[in-house]
Symmetry: C2
Subunit: 480 residues, 2 copies
């Protein structure tokens, strides 16, 4: 089909130029567009619908685990940002400053929130009185601004949408439990909704959140072998609660600082979704997160009965909870539509023409494998439901296999340097824990410690860099 | 009960000082708090849960009518804001300006969106090509900033949460149909969800949105007789589409400017909800929008079997879809709890003690009427469901009655001046349509034209101000 060639021609092959492939895919598929403000993106309805599915999944999980939503101001006074030393050093260089309200210069500059620990802690200090009110389990959905120099839609933008959880607890153990509980929710969301396998673990001191005691992360591997930090959960211990003087009367009527966590995932996940699953024809969306799960394309739709039957089928599929679209536009050919929905990553396409109807069948095409199978119309709703489930599992396993193929073990520094110059991926290696070795790896290979995974292996006894005793296995990779 | 007195004492009586009553109610009931940034509020979980119920209701209606969500940047370049003359005059005095990103001064100032017509039109101009793509039916949920001098939580704040719809159409008729369709959705939402009767109609030229051809509004009457503009829907005709040069090829392949609408409601609705329904004991929340619809307070909860039966009841109520809480905290007495949930406006309270359980009954107390009735435990789920429905209807009718009591008809200007100095309310009056008469009313009485309602009555033949021929009946009121 000529349209097919034309479309494929417009998307650069990922083998030729992965970055250009990514840009082509997101532009051609109406997920997002560049805005007139440098580094800021417009999320178009098709992209936003993916975000809504992520929101819905997580919001339910957060509420089931006792969290409530709230909303804090967009603007934060400079003096509040300055209260936690490491935090301000981490964020001040990349915030947007509001200096005027209407025609008046403000007495104090306000920053557009890059994250909300400071203003939330200021309020928590005002509210919290007694241990009886603990734990505080709160979350907010909002946008944040971080002034980035080099930006790419979804992956790194000067504004992005996210959720940020902020909790307080009586003990460090409870804070740690919360930190890990949320990381688990993120990991499961990636697996169950996005069909993405994650490596989860602890960030190094250098890579942790500005102001955290410990940062935990979920890391995904992209098609090009680069890693994407996809969500983080921070145990903030008493760093902020002391800086903001949050206190409460404990069970023994003594004044205490509570323990604190924060955690977030963002629209960055959509970038990961694309770079894990999609191909040279365009998007491939896992069924559970796809805005449209099935598209029905009628063939020879002017023939009597075709559209009627197609609409009936749409209803039958909707009745079993499938998100389905029927494209009966007379302006485009079926061939054009096939390519359009293939490019947009709709998991299943159903082709239905007069002869199919006569024979009581329809043609069903899978986006991930491009397999086409004739199926009986009568049993289509159940069969399509099953097929969508199968696709989810298959896509997860394909992503897992891809990651395993691109995961390497290195026992010497030379092996790392040589291998990573040829092929990107996760490199498992032993590390002594010192910053000098970490810095050397980054400087000389471009790779960073993505995390110390929970699932440890003792690959050897010594650090690949300095040869000293090492008991930490880390995942190294170049990253987005 | 002593706690009761104490709490009532802390909420100022609305008859004594309505503004203070409002402030007391929102502060005492944990809906909202003041933030360290002047004019910006923190929406606490209990307040935010009300907003989530409003969002859920509207988002469903918008999607059922073909609208899709999207997200546009928070920051808008000054040059874009300047493109529509009336718009910039209306908004420029009240925007917050970002002048620095990190340490660098920006080449062009960016305003924090006060509303998004300008940046959305800029993108629509880039996207729209053909009539085949029309209508554009889009919406976004976000926060906006308008630098206000005098602020009050929910009613007028420098930042608020809202939704803003932005649509494009082939004809002015379709744009008008959309404008009114959305106004109808807002009006129904107020009635069906918030139990608030609205007067709906057209704004005067002076009161319309900066840049609109016509603004339609829903107006509610508060307990103190002042009006609250609760939602607006604008027919923007081609004002912005010409200013931003949005064009498309029509059915005859000619270049045309599309017709345009925008519309929004905000967290201001929560302020209205409070000032229509609540009383001197605190909040009274209509059941459909209440975060918690029923609270179960166990009596003598240490007695064996009481808590077990209470938890069983909770489950039974949840099974029929009721949002229910059980307060089994040992730190507070039942009396304290009664007052707490009464103040927080929970629609129904169920008291359950050992003797009740023995007799197979529970005491059910309504928040709106304060009536208490014994009901059989066995039938409680159905009876409570019915009671919640009754409450919704009763609260709507009480609000309607209150509004009717405070709605007056005046046939002369003197009658208006005299009456409004004594009692606030909606004043129906004839108006010739000229700005001079409108300005005189505002200057001399403080009342403004809230709208020209769709339901017109010909009260007389002449304008109450100038005595010239008049064919428009308007609603006048002092307003928030």
């Amino acid at each position: 089909m000529s349209e097919n060639k034309e479309f494929v021609k417009e998307i650069t092959k990922m083998e030729d130029d992965f970055a250009q492939w990514y840009t082509d895919v997101i532009r051609k598929t109406d997920l997002v567009d560049y805005s007139p403000v440098k580094g800021f993106m417009v999320i178009k309805p098709y992209g936003y619908a993916i975000w809504e599915n992520i929101q819905q999944y997580l919001d339910k999980k957060f509420k089931e685990t006792g969290h409530k939503n709230m909303y804090f101001p967009l603007l934060i006074p400079e003096s509040l940002l300055n209260k936690e030393k490491e935090h301000v050093e981490g964020f001040a260089p990349e915030v947007a400053w509001v200096t005027h309200g209407g025609d008046n210069e403000l007495g104090e500059r306000l920053c557009v929130r890059p994250t909300s620990e400071t203003i939330i802690c200021h309020m928590y200090a005002k509210w919290l009185k007694s241990y009886r009110e603990l734990p505080y389990l709160n979350n907010q959905w909002c946008s944040v601004v971080r002034w980035e120099k080099a930006t790419r839609p979804f992956l790194r933008t000067s504004e992005f949408l996210w959720q940020e959880g902020h909790t307080l607890h009586e003990t460090q153990e409870e804070a740690q439990e919360e930190t890990l509980k949320i990381l688990k929710i993120y990991e499961e969301m990636a697996k169950e909704l996005l069909a993405i396998p994650m490596v989860s673990g602890l960030k190094s001191e250098k890579e942790k959140f500005a102001g955290a005691e410990a940062t935990y992360t979920i890391e995904a591997l992209m098609h090009d072998g680069k890693a994407l930090q996809s969500g983080t959960s921070h145990n903030l211990a008493q760093h902020f609660t002391k800086a903001f003087d949050i206190t409460y009367l404990d069970r023994a009527s003594k004044l205490q600082h509570p323990y604190h966590t924060s955690w977030g995932v963002s629209t960055r996940l959509i970038g990961g979704l694309i770079m894990v699953h999609s191909d040279n024809r365009g998007l491939v969306l896992p069924p559970r997160v796809a805005p449209t799960q099935v598209v029905i394309v009628p063939i020879m739709q002017k023939k009597p009965g075709v559209l009627d039957r197609a609409y009936e089928l749409k209803k039958d599929l909707e009745a079993v909870g499938i998100r389905v679209e029927l494209d009966d536009s007379p302006n485009y050919s079926p061939g054009w539509k096939f390519n359009e929905y293939e490019m947009k990553g709709v998991p299943l396409r159903i082709e239905l023409g007069p002869r199919d109807i006569e024979n009581g069948v329809a043609m069903v095409a899978r986006r991930d494998t491009l397999d086409k199978n004739q199926m009986e119309l009568e049993h289509l709703p159940e069969m399509v439901s099953e097929l969508l489930e199968d696709m989810h599992q298959d896509m997860y396993h394909a992503a897992l296999e891809m990651r395993e193929e691109k995961t390497y073990t290195v026992k010497t520094y030379n092996a790392l340097v040589e291998s990573i110059s040829e092929k990107q991926g996760f490199y498992k290696a032993m590390w002594c824990g010192c910053e000098a070795c970490e810095a050397k790896i980054k400087e000389e290979t471009g790779a960073t410690i993505r995390c110390m995974p929970f699932e440890q292996e003792q690959l050897s006894e010594t650090c690949i860099v300095c040869g000293e005793k090492a008991d930490k296995m880390v995942y190294l990779a170049k990253a987005y």
